[in-house]
Point group: C2
Chain length 199, copies 2
């Protein structure tokens, strides 16, 4: 398949890139400052223009999005707005604008994260944004068939324990390779409207 990968320079993105390539896919990477195609997906105008640069795509895979972790009393209105714009709206806009450029049975696979289903202290913005992404995908799935959409929702990554482990005490971490495997399941499988929770 010809797969558009947004966020290829991130921890998960790199693993997803390698895994999709190993499985024989043609992966077109999209990034703000690196990648085959340059696009800041948090800019709705740039997302609209992205598709004319990439041609027809069989699958869109997104591993991008930043959210601030901080105690609720320290999170600002701007933190929540920025988190929504950076992680939720950017991915929603990929789906909205990509629909007509996606192969008839193509798929979108987005990323969320565990705090929406299993909350942690300092994770209120992450929870809100991930909850938005997951509910959006369930709703979008019933409108875009036969095209598909799923969300990968990982726990803290084994590879990110040094930076994020303290936010997830006692949480079972997940290996990045397992997260990459879930992306393959979404892209090559037939499920839609699903939240693939890991581990």
């Amino acid at each position: 398949m010809r797969i558009l990968l947004v966020g290829a320079s991130g921890t998960i993105g790199r693993l997803v890139y390698d895994t999709l390539r190993e499985r024989g896919h043609d992966v077109v990477t999209v990034g703000r400052s690196s990648g085959d195609v340059r696009c800041d997906v948090t800019d709705p105008v740039q997302v609209e223009e992205l598709w004319s640069k990439v041609g027809e795509i069989d699958a869109v895979v997104s591993t991008a999005g930043h959210v601030r972790y901080a105690p609720l009393a320290e999170l600002t209105s701007d933190d929540f707005a920025a988190a929504f714009a950076d992680k939720a709206l950017a991915q929603i806009n990929l789906v909205r604008t990509g629909l007509e450029h996606l192969a008839p049975k193509g798929s979108f696979t987005l990323i969320s994260g565990i705090p929406s289903r299993d909350p942690v202290v300092s994770g209120a913005a992450a929870a809100a944004v991930n909850g938005a992404i997951e509910a959006f995908a369930r709703a979008a799935a019933i409108e875009i068939a036969p095209r598909r959409i799923n969300v990968i929702s990982p726990s803290v990554l084994e590879e990110s324990l040094e930076a994020f482990g303290d936010f997830f005490p006692g949480f079972e971490p997940v290996a990045g390779a397992e997260v990459a495997r879930a992306f393959v399941k979404s892209v090559e499988g037939a499920a839609t409207g699903q939240i693939l929770a890991l581990p």
Copy 2:
């Protein structure tokens, strides 16, 4: 209790107002253009300033928030951003800024809606925003204890079938009085981090 009610002029807000008053509560209404206290809760600055006008509050109840219903292909980036700002961020900011003004065992009760758990065509923005509110509340609950937070998630209202019924074919509607009862359960009960789904 002394209860701050945001959205008292809406269909649900009016019923919640009457119900809380009948149960003997002192209800302070907040609205953009009507109510005891004027405040546009979608303006983060006005929300910050709200609390100095109302004094100590035992419970904050929100029934406010507008989201556009339209097919996914017709919803714009601005529609999603506006829906998030109007319904999710406004309620999140009520919680964030109200925390230090709420009685030690006080509560917040927010409103979401059924599309986040049971999606409908044209409800992708509603689903995303309601999903954000619900996940936020689950996360906030573990940080604000002993103060509490819950979300009321109603199906389409019997009172709103004329305007919204076509979006919810075969969905069991819920009487506004039952929704108001759920707000009482949240305010007077002891639950926290819960999504009260109706019917």
